[in-house]
């Protein structure tokens, strides 16, 4: 949509739908990834890019041509591409003498670079090397992060968030139990990150929950953490801001006890207790008898009582 000559309005309904799909929304679309090559790439890198594209299949675009840019220095071309194809994740592969077999994972916010983390491939086994039948395309993978570093180190924390964002796929409310096949396991150990991809077989165990057996499919990487370009804290916070409409509406005057009992509160106006409308019970009604009989009754009664005591 050219903004150059003032406002441009779409001429067909289809165009309008397309533009609305790309505009900012309350609940966003699945993040697309663009996978591209740098000025010089080795066989390892190209194969690695292809494999990761296969993992991310419908939500990724793989570019064939080389792009002579350096993301860490100048990210304008990346931003341009993301604007054109509406992709907010990217994976840039390159190969130099100084940084051999380099992969840069990154994400964008509002078409500007948010985070970029450079990982160097030390060991790599491709999809085609491992001759086992793979998971079907588009399976939502289970992500497992192991190692203390993912909790302690800031870089690793961002890396964890980035990898989750990259590989999680579309967000769904329910998952088919039999379809939980694909497992991506990341281990952080001694400054390296080991990525393995398994296929889980749900075996029969005695009880309802199945026993898991794993067999390795898919690419296996040994990454070394190189440079990082992380977003500043305020930009990071801004990116995480959720619209107010998405917040779950809090139900007022309902509270829960530690034991789980549910309490509610009622708010009353001032009441005149004398003029309350209550249930009428016969026994509580006032007795209206004549007065002279009262003394005779009273006289008799104490006598009776005295007699009783005397006996």
């Amino acid at each position: 949509m050219k903004q150059s000559h003032g406002v441009v309005k779409p001429k067909t309904k289809r165009a309008k739908r397309f533009l609305d799909n790309r505009a900012s929304k309350l609940t966003e679309n699945v993040k697309n990834a663009m996978i591209m090559k740098g000025g010089n790439t080795s066989m390892t890198v190209t194969q690695a890019l292809k494999d990761i594209y296969a993992l991310k299949k419908p939500n990724a675009v793989l570019y064939k041509k080389k792009n002579i840019t350096r993301p860490f220095e100048d990210s304008t071309s990346l931003e341009f591409f993301s604007k054109k194809t509406d992709c907010s994740l990217f994976l840039f592969g390159s190969h130099n003498k100084k940084r051999p077999n380099n992969l840069i994972f990154g994400r964008l916010f509002d078409f500007h670079v948010l985070d970029m983390i450079e990982l160097g491939i030390e060991t790599y086994k491709s999809l085609s090397d491992i001759k086992i039948s793979k998971c079907p395309e588009g399976t939502k993978p289970m992500l497992v992060f192991a190692g203390e570093a993912f909790d302690i180190d800031n870089d690793h924390k961002r890396l964890k968030s980035l990898l989750t964002d990259f590989f999680r796929g579309p967000v769904v409310q329910s998952v088919r139990l039999a379809g939980l096949e694909h497992v991506l396991h990341f281990t952080a150990l001694e400054g390296k990150v080991y990525m393995r991809s398994y296929r889980s077989l749900l075996k029969k165990s005695g009880c309802r929950t199945p026993r898991i057996e794993l067999e390795e499919i898919g690419p296996s990487f040994d990454f070394a953490l190189r440079r990082t370009h992380l977003a500043s804290d305020d930009l990071y916070k801004k990116a995480h801001k959720q619209p107010k409409a998405l917040k779950p509406k809090k139900k007022k005057n309902i509270s829960h006890d530690t034991f789980g009992t549910k309490f509610g509160r009622l708010h009353m106006q001032k009441q005149d207790l004398a003029k309350l409308q209550t249930r009428k019970m016969k026994g509580l009604r006032k007795r209206g008898r004549p007065v002279p009989d009262a003394t005779a009754v009273e006289g008799k009664e104490p006598q009776k009582t005295v007699q009783a005591d005397a006996e």
């Binding site: 329910s174 001694e190 005695g206 026993r211 794993l214």
Partner: protein, 546 residues
């Protein structure tokens, strides 16, 4: 005894239970953290590096992964499941890990100018009904849209108001007013959007852009140019500026009352064309087209034949029908046609010579590309009759023989001194203008013609018994500089051809035209300098020499 067995049974049952759970239980120091909305599990336990190094890397990682995945699965299985279309699905909770958004959250639509005004004045929006009762039609009709009530466009009668001009078109006025209203509405809408997005809407013309491309600049220039009172008609162009490509006009018409002489010329030209007895059908073009098609079909046939394995490869079937033997399909006067020409001529020859079928027919129709060229270069014909003042013997075969006193109808003037015309007996050809004089009255001189025809008629006698060979020989005359005899040669040859009762039928379309001597014809074609317009003669170029 019974008591022991009961205890045993119980113990056994417990053991079984433990066994069952063993398979899915995993021992970990720290519990994992789960985010089931994203199917993520985080294991914060320390990894024993020594063990990692001792054991094979893959084995260690696999066992670790298995344990973690087992725990994650255990966690997932704790959640409620349901059956959806024969499939068991588990309902996942909301994702808990905060992940950054793609784009900033959408801003609410800013109020338009009217909305602000309404809020200021306290004007409420009143909901109107969709349907309105129409008294005339006695039905509920829409307030707006298809078949609405008060449809102004469907009115057949508009009262002219008292103060209005009686010659004004009220319907047009109404249409114009509506268009203006729509445009105004659209402009206001765009302006509202532009105000909210802080961009500019063009009032009139173009909005300024930061970095303009070539097309933008060109457009700006053209817009600026046409923004004068006379819509750019009197604006000078820059020295190297090119004229605008599309003026917006799709068809250009001559003015109704314009140049009288120009109009007269055009009308007279039309008469001349009608009078000229030239066939309206461009025979050359039609023939070329036909030939092209034949060539294509032949090629396709050949290709098919080659594929299937040749079955008696004669292409008489195709060629017999109506193979026009002539020069090849596309002839445009260029040097590059030379080899192609000869090759196709040869092919044509071979075609004809080889075809010995009873269904054989050879058309020798008019096919000379120079006519085509001549037509393209058709010039203003001064249709006029000229009288020959000096006899002239043709130097070239396509020239006319001029006899003093003859009247020639000038068809067109190829050059200043070289004109194309027609004789009384129908012959057409070139002649030098210096030998003729303009004539206004028509003067027929039958005597001359008789003489001419007599001379012509004598000639065939000599050639009466000409055989094919002789004929061919006759054709292979030397080309350069014709003598009187040779000048007549072409005429004679054709006559003899006509008289021969061979199996070769020659449907000659027009009155006996001159024959073309093929070699010279060819030479002429190939020469660049002489633009010869050929006569309308049938050319049996099948008999071309190699």
């Amino acid at each position: 005894m019974a008591a022991c067995s009961v205890e045993d049974v119980l113990a056994k049952a417990e053991q079984d239970e433990a066994e069952k759970l063993k398979s899915i239980s995993v021992k970990k120091d720290l519990d994992l953290e789960f985010d089931l909305g994203n199917l993520v599990a985080c294991d914060k336990n320390r990894i024993d590096v020594r063990q990692f190094r001792q054991q094979k890397k893959e084995e260690f990682l696999r066992s670790l992964a298995r344990d973690n995945t087992q725990l994650l699965i255990n966690e997932i299985w704790k959640h409620p499941t349901e059956r959806v279309e024969e499939v068991i699905v588990v309902k996942l909770p909301e994702p808990t890990t905060p992940l950054p958004r793609e784009k900033p959250p959408p801003k609410p639509r800013p109020p338009t100018k009217w909305e602000e005004f309404a809020k200021l004045k306290g004007i409420q929006k009143k909901k109107k009904t969709n349907l309105v009762w129409d008294e005339v039609a006695k039905a509920w009709k829409r307030r707006w849209g298809y078949q609405r009530v008060n449809d102004g466009t469907k009115e057949w009668l508009i009262e002219v108001p008292e103060l209005a001009d009686p010659n004004e078109d009220q319907f047009a006025k109404r249409n114009k007013a509506k268009k203006e209203k729509v445009a105004k509405n659209e402009l206001h809408r765009l302006r509202n959007i532009a105000r909210s997005q802080n961009i500019k809407v063009p009032g009139v013309g173009l909005t300024p852009i930061a970095d303009q491309s070539k097309t933008d600049l060109a457009r700006a220039v053209s817009v600026a140019k046409t923004s004068t009172a006379s819509v750019g008609k009197f604006q000078d162009r820059l020295p190297k500026e090119k004229a605008p490509k599309n003026t917006g006009k799709k068809r250009k018409f001559q003015p109704v009352i314009g140049n009288f002489s120009h109009e007269r010329e055009r009308q007279l030209d039309m008469l001349k064309v009608m009078d000229s007895k030239k066939p309206r059908l461009d025979v050359v073009k039609a023939a070329n087209k036909q030939m092209r098609e034949n060539d294509r079909e032949e090629a396709a046939e050949k290709f098919k034949g080659r594929k299937k394995g040749r079955k008696g490869g004669n292409f008489s079937g195709k060629g017999g029908k109506g193979e026009m033997c002539a020069l090849p399909s596309e002839i445009r006067g260029s040097q590059s046609i030379q080899p192609r020409l000869q090759a196709s001529v040869r092919r044509m020859q071979s075609n004809i010579y080889r075809q010995q079928n009873e269904h054989f027919e050879v058309f020798t129709t008019v096919l000379s590309p120079q006519v085509h060229r001549g037509r393209c270069q058709f010039r203003q014909a001064d249709v006029g009759k000229v009288v020959v003042k000096r006899s002239y013997k043709p130097h070239w075969p396509d020239e006319l023989e001029l006899i003093r006193g003859e009247v020639i109808l000038v068809l067109f003037k190829d050059e200043e001194s070289r004109w194309f015309g027609r004789l009384q007996d129908g012959q057409q050809g070139y002649f030098p203008a210096s030998h003729v004089d303009e004539l206004i009255n028509q003067e027929g001189e039958p005597a001359v013609n008789v003489a001419r025809s007599a001379r012509r008629s004598s000639a065939p006698a000599a050639y009466a018994g000409s055989s094919g060979a002789l004929r061919l020989q006759a054709l292979r005359r030397p080309t350069a500089g014709g003598t009187g005899v040779e000048g007549e040669g072409p005429i004679l040859i054709l006559k003899s051809q006509n008289s021969l009762p061979d199996g070769l039928t020659q449907p000659v379309p027009q009155p006996p035209p001159e024959a073309q001597n093929s070699p010279s014809f060819l030479r002429r074609l190939l020469s660049k300098h002489r633009r010869k317009s050929a006569c309308h003669g049938s050319t049996n170029t099948g008999y071309l020499a190699d």
